[in-house]
Amino acid sequence: MDLENQERVKSLAEKHGPENLVVILGGAEAEASGLTAETVTVGDPAYAGPLAGVSLGLPVFHIVEPEIKEQVDPEVYEEQIAMMEMVLEVDDICEEVKNYREQGSKYLG
């Protein structure tokens, strides 16, 4: 996750409170999605950005995960996501993101 985006997530969390935020990812690949999920939960694994050593513990999901998919208007999902969903390794992505969510998200009910 690049430095600017880390800074954005960090300041949004400060402004609104981490308990009021959810991060939805759109990454096309499992490892990258996992790294982003790790960054917004336990902290930047590369220790390079503003989230190095900062555990925001934000709830994080990928857009293709059922929890999110079910909440989206099927027509909109069909139009915006379905195409990509066909070519992505959905299971791998879900597993990676879920792994970090369960490890590091602090504010899930």
Binding site: D2, L3, E31, L35, P45, A46, Y47, A48, G49, P50, A52, G53
Partner: protein, 362 residues
Amino acid sequence: MNRAQSTSADQRSLKKLRVVHYLNQFFGQVGGEEKAGMGPEVREGVVGPGMAFAKQLGEAAEIVATVICGDNYFGEQVDEAGAEVLKLIQKYKPDLVIAGPAFNAGRYGVACGAVAQRVTEALDLPVITGMYPENPGVEIYRRFAYVIETGNSAAAMRTAVPAMAALVKKFAAGAAIGGPEEEGYIPRGIRKNFFHQERGARRAVGILTKKLKGEEFVTEYPMPNFDRVDIAEPLSKVEDATIALVTSGGIVPRGNPDRIESSSASKYGRYSLKGVEDLTAETHETAHGGYDPVYANDDPDRVLPVDVLRELEKEGAIGRLHPYYYSTVGNGTSVANAKKYASEIAAELVNEGVQAVILTST
């Protein structure tokens, strides 16, 4: 380890090792490419990956300061930047220096390596860094640091830091540092003598029988890894091409004006072929010390076939013979030197419009 040694190790382990950490602008959290021109700066305590190190090192060692320098700043003036960084490091009187890890980042790897060289030479302190084996910093500077092998991107931070920290802790405990395989660092090209329980012949036969049986074995002398050069495209029209002669067979003008050595040549020569139709015992000879020179001195065309190429030139089979030839002695010449000569010679030939080279040996 005997009792006396272990006692002194325990005493040393009481002391917390002082560590200075070197980072580039990116991991130093100053910024990306736009900040790569920044000069060296120092921060007290840990920055970025230093936080991860601190967690791993616990009571064994403390990062007392972090020196941060932009990759471009370092790369554009390696000597000056190295001296500046050394000065900053020195001020904190460290017992050990950590650099990086740099993964596969080339400029960063070279900077970490150059810092390691400075620290080793000026302060005689151990330096621990981490790089992907193909990082150019490994090849150039591995002698000066314990380079822990890492993955190729920052995603490998989570495995790189514990591996590097483990080695730092060994230093902190005053423990003996094992060989590359044992400790996970890239071989430094340093040989250490030790007494083996079994003599060499027995070990060699042991390896051979394992190999014959198809079992796994570990060589005691890994062969160097030479690169392979891709074969050039064929010439579309040899009859229009300018062809040059290059030899490692040592053919030089008589008297060897450049004093090219008969073995382990430290140079190569460039000699004119203008108006030369044929090499003779009166005009040329070989400087090579690795073969019987009688027949080469008798007719140097045997090694450097100028006569035949002149004939081909007249027949129109080739466009023309390049008016200069290059010569060195391949006898015992190191691969690194050969590579250097070849790239210089090739650059000149390309510059002078040569399309192909006939490379003759002995």
